[in-house]
């Protein structure tokens, strides 16, 4: 089955809405694309990291002498080789990062805070030698008590990760040190009164495990710290400019000394917004006598020591009146930040009730450190945990009221002018349209047999169910800069600084083509290094097609204006008199094409070039509504997804295939999170499943074709109506799957992942 496209209004575009082949496609499918680990420099050394075997310990001493003495080893570094940055906050993707935390996360100083925390690093002439040298480094640890669970970490007697960490308690700094870094509250109306008057109230507690983005390409970094002080970095990143600043701060060098070249990127999903290896490779390069150093993580390192997303504990209480109106909602949310403050709990608080109009709300959000890796961003950070909780409770409310679950969501759905639970008022949004599209989809009315025989053909052990859930993401605008220059043959070179992780070279080039009036094939996009283009915020927050797209639109307009001036010069008229239609310039019976104008550019005033930088706050949020059919083998606890449909308000799908791909990818990750993905730690905090064998992301055999419905409610804040689309689709799946499991088995699952063992337990089979 293929995707569908439901548009509220459809202006006529020549390029927007078509499905051209992406400019980076051939290189990627033929293996010619250069990823970070493909970079080769002459005299290059290979770096490896020594990682902590303890989840929490004081480093008493590190003896690197034997490693240094091994022939072929060119440099060994520890935390002592680095300056100690101040507690300073810098931008990172949609969020911020404390540079001191980041520096200490890259390489431990006095304490290790999680299993896999970097302690030392070696550069040698071969990777094997570097690996052997690690074994010669002697580290003396004093193990400390470990705290892994978010609720245990919040207890006053819990072992402390940071002796100097105080709780920011709604603006007040706490007296006593604590693992709770932050407590935020959003409150409106009177929830107690509303619950007392509600006809039905549902309250439940949900738990979720720490999970990883599971991008296929591991983190890598190749760095040359040259003898003249210039530092060149090649790496896999979503945020070249932010990472450049991070490296500058960690190394204490001016940002202008660093040139960062983003290599082709094999997935990020938020996991590649901050540095891990680059500062280490830089320091090794310097210490090794200004030789280039390449570092590449293996999968175990990626899982143990990059930035997965938070495990959480969420309590949700919601009440509705007899007519099915939600009257009050309350949430208590505690997220594991990992070793340093900064979980996405505040974003979770924004997501949790976002699709609904609710008069009385209270949300308490806690950011809590535990002895696990520092949480990074993961696609709609904090959103999946939150929606799993709220969408399960909403399903239960609808059931108790005897209202169809989609009807219930539409009845309470937020519209333009409604206020989100945590504050802002919505402009034009498309939640209702997305929910109605799901409701009208043949999937929702297709019959579903309640059960099926087990493989022996004797036993109706396999139960089927259907579930729905909604989801929201804020999206983001951010700052983008780009250049465009007209070539003499009428094509355009487009220079951008947004790493392409989801087909954005194509989507940005299409917007320039549409704006200028040329064909998509006439735009040649290139993503360049940080010295070659102005500042760009990260590829994150679903912002690039919106934000960099805005710049592409403006570049098209600027080029068009210059071309009008050139035509006016040729015809001796004023530029305002020149008409433009689909790349054809005309006035008083004169006609000239862009190609002809381009060929004459040197006679009419020289090169035609435009540069621009722009930031828009008018990114519209995205809403999705998902339907899933699944079956549960009630004897083994295994869930098989049978059918999945994702409807989403996408604003305007510039390249529908890539929008569908975003929806399908988000759903695939959401299903993995729902069913099998989790970090498994032993009591001492050792990560037990640091491989793709035992960290179980879904395989191609585990998912059906995921159908998509692109609902287009154009964003009034963008020339083509674009909204971000990449993150919303990972928000609903866990809730939808949980609701479907309930409808199949009669059991409400309140813990992620809903693995076979947990389902057997919930069914009372073990």
């Amino acid at each position: 089955m293929s995707g569908e496209n439901q548009s509220v209004e459809q202006p006529t575009y020549r390029v927007v809405g078509t499905r051209p082949i992406r400019p980076d496609g051939v290189d990627k499918v033929t293996g010619r694309a250069i990823f970070g680990a493909d970079v080769r420099l002459s005299g290059m050394l290979y770096g490896r990291v020594l990682r902590s075997p303890h989840a929490h310990a004081r480093i008493k001493s590190i003896d690197t002498s034997a490693a240094e003495a091994l022939p072929g080893v060119k440099a060994v570094i520890t935390g002592r080789d680095f300056p100690d940055p101040q507690n300073k906050v810098a931008a990172s993707g949609e969020g911020t990062v404390n540079l001191r935390s980041l520096a200490h996360n890259c390489i431990a100083r006095d304490k290790v805070l999680y299993f896999g925390h970097a302690v030392a690093a070696v550069a040698a002439t071969t990777p094997n030698l570097a690996e052997e040298a690690l074994k010669l480094i002697r580290v003396e640890y004093e193990p400390l008590p470990v705290v892994l669970d978010v609720l245990e970490a919040m207890r006053p007697d819990a072992p402390l990760l940071h002796e100097d960490l105080r709780t920011n308690e709604m603006g007040q700094r706490s007296e006593r040190p604590s693992n709770v870094a932050n407590h935020t509250r959003h409150e409106r109306g009177d929830v107690e009164k509303a619950f007392a008057e509600a006809a039905v109230v549902v309250e439940r507690e949900f738990r979720t495990s720490m999970v990883h983005q599971g991008y296929i390409e591991p983190q890598n970094g190749t760095v040359l710290w040259n003898a003249d002080g210039q530092i060149s970095v090649w790496c896999s990143t979503q945020a070249p400019f932010d990472e450049r600043s991070q490296i500058a701060e960690i190394l204490d060098v001016p940002v202008s000394k660093i040139k960062l070249t983003p290599a082709e990127i094999g997935g990020g999903f938020g996991g590649k917004l901050s540095v891990y290896l680059e500062p280490l490779a830089a320091m090794l390069s310097k210490k090794a006598g200004h030789k280039p150093v390449q570092m590449v993580m293996n999968r175990a390192e990626v899982l143990a020591a990059t930035g997965p997303t938070s495990g959480s504990c969420i309590r949700v209480k919601m009440g509705a009146d007899r007519n099915g109106c939600i009257v009050a909602a309350q949430a208590w949310m505690a997220y594991e930040a990992g070793a340093f403050p900064g979980s996405p709990v505040d974003a979770g608080a924004g997501v949790i009730f976002a699709p609904y109009r609710i008069p009385n709300v209270r949300i308490d959000a806690y950011d809590v450190v535990v002895n696990k890796p520092r949480a990074g961003a993961y696609r709609a950070p904090g959103g999946t945990n939150a929606a799993f909780a709220s969408e399960s409770v909403i399903d239960e409310l609808a059931e108790q009221l005897g209202i169809d679950p989609l009807e219930f969501r539409i009845l309470n759905g937020a519209k333009e002018g409604d206020r989100r639970a945590d504050g802002p008022v919505y402009r034009r949004i498309g939640f209702i349209e997305a929910a109605q599209a799901a409701q009208a989809h043949p999937h929702y009315s297709a019959p579903l047999a309640p059960s099926r025989l087990d493989p022996t053909g004797k036993n109706p052990a396999i139960k089927r169910g259907r579930g729905v859930a909604a989801g929201f993401w804020f999206n983001w605008g951010g700052k983008s800069s780009a250049w465009a220059s007209l070539n003499p043959d009428g094509t355009v070179s487009l220079i951008e600084g947004s790493p392409d992780i989801g087909g954005s070279r194509a989507s940005i080039a299409m917007q320039l083509a549409e704006s200028l009036g040329v064909r998509f094939e006439d735009v040649k996009p290139a993503v360049v290094d940080t010295d070659s283009v102005g500042y760009n915020d990260a590829t994150g927050g679903s912002r690039v097609t919106f934000g960099t797209g805005w710049v592409a639109y403006r570049l098209g307009q600027k080029l068009k204006q210059q071309l009008k001036e050139r035509a006016a010069l040729l015809w001796d008229v004023s530029p305002e008199q020149v008409q433009v239609e689909a790349g054809m310039f005309s006035c008083n019976g004169h006609r000239i094409t862009i190609q002809e104008l381009a060929a004459k550019m040197h006679e009419t005033g020289g090169p035609i070039v435009a540069g621009d930088t722009f930031e828009s706050e008018e990114y519209g949020p995205g809403f999705g509504v998902h339907i899933v059919d699944l079956e549960v083998d009630t004897e083994t606890g295994k869930v098989q997804i049978l059918r999945y449909t994702a409807a989403q308000d996408v604003g305007r799908a510039i390249h529908p295939s890539y929008v569908e791909g975003q929806l399908q990818g988000g759903v695939a990750q959401g299903i993995g999170w729902a069913l099998n993905e989790e970090y498994v730690y032993d009591a001492d905090g050792h990560l037990l499943n640091a491989s793709f064998l035992d960290y179980r992301i879904p395989t191609a055999l585990d998912l059906p074709m995921i159908d998509t419905v692109l609902v287009e409610v154009p964003n009034p804040g963008h020339p083509y109506g674009v909204r971000g689309v990449g993150e919303t689709p990972i928000v609903p799946p866990a809730g939808a799957v949980a609701n479907a499991i309930y409808h199949a088995t009669g059991v409400r699952m309140t813990t992620l992942p809903m693995s076979p063992a947990r389902i057997l337990e919930a069914l009372g089979k073990v």
């Binding site: 493989p455 098989q640 037990l688 035992d694 395989t699 055999l701 693995s755």
Partner: protein, 292 residues
């Protein structure tokens, strides 16, 4: 990964003498799909790898209805599933072989390696056990045979002495009205190590309603793949009906002694031992009824 020496052995005698000389330092290399991964991840160390693939005898695969099946220790798995006569005669083994990795892995991985690696969760071992397979072992003292169910001694450990290696696996020809099957439980549909595996074989009477004899073997519920002897004994002479299947499955479940690890809990495994035994036995009986 540490450097190691590599020798391509061309005869059984050469392999035996190298193995004897280098003792614990040497390891046999067959398909390498376990060994190379283990060496790379530092889970095993070896200073010498003895590649047995050039030895003609360990590459032989032969089958006849009279003498049965002989699988050279270096024969890649896909050769087994490729032959209709073998598929027909050893359905339980074929179930297991078809599950090992994907197409690429099956082109390289061997049953000899799957067995010698002695993982409690190895897919082929319960199936080999219910097919009454026997190991043909060469060593400094000559040849010896050992039933597969006695070959594994602990996780990653087998009954081979210093200087010995596995030359072939011999599987006797199936009797009339024989059926076998293997099933494993994994949380996904691919890429996982069995949380529990179960194999069953039965020989029925001519009418197909009484079980004359049978075997049940379980994987991933004990330190080694397990022949559930009491469950097997409980099959003999019983009507092939639902009540018998239920009882035998409970006996097999009782024999399971699983642990909790990141792949599954002890309680889950114990329960799955029951469910899978029931399902696999049902399947083996079905197959026995449709063979002559």
């Amino acid at each position: 990964m540490q450097a190691f020496e590599y020798v391509a052995a061309t005869s059984v005698t050469q392999a035996v003498s190298l193995l004897k000389e280098r003792g614990e330092q040497a390891r046999v290399l067959s398909g390498g799909t376990d060994l190379l991964v283990q060496l790379k991840e530092g889970r095993r160390y070896a200073s010498l790898l003895i590649d047995i693939k050039p030895i003609p005898e360990v590459n032989e695969l032969s089958y006849s209805p009279e003498t049965g099946l002989r699988i050279g220790a270096a024969v890649p798995c896909f050769h087994l599933s490729n032959q209709a006569a073998i598929r027909q005669a050893y359905p339980g083994l074929i179930d297991a072989v078809a599950l090992i990795g994907g197409v690429q892995i099956q082109g390289r991985a061997t049953l000899g390696g799957n067995l010698s690696n002695a993982s409690p969760a190895a897919d082929s071992i319960p199936a080999l056990i219910v097919h009454h397979a026997v190991c043909d072992i060469a060593g400094p003292a000559g040849r010896r045979e050992l039933a597969v169910e006695r070959f594994c001694t602990a996780p990653g450990k087998n009954a081979l002495d210093v200087g010995e290696f596995l030359v072939a696996i011999r599987v006797p020809p199936p009797p009339a009205h024989f059926g076998a099957a293997y099933l494993r439980f994994i949380p996904r549909n691919e890429m996982d190590i069995a949380v529990v595996g179960a194999a069953a074989s039965v020989t029925l009477n001519k009418q197909g309603d009484i079980i004359l004899s049978g075997r049940i073997a379980l994987g991933a519920v004990a330190p080694t793949p397990l022949l559930a002897e009491e469950a097997g004994a409980a099959l003999a002479g019983r009507p092939a009906d639902a009540e018998m299947i239920e009882q035998v499955a409970r006996i097999a479940q009782h024999a399971a002694r699983p642990i909790t690890d990141m792949r599954g809990t002890a309680a889950q495994r114990k329960h799955l031992a029951y469910v899978l035994t029931r399902r696999v036995l049902e399947h083996a009986i079905e197959r026995a009824r449709t063979t002559t």
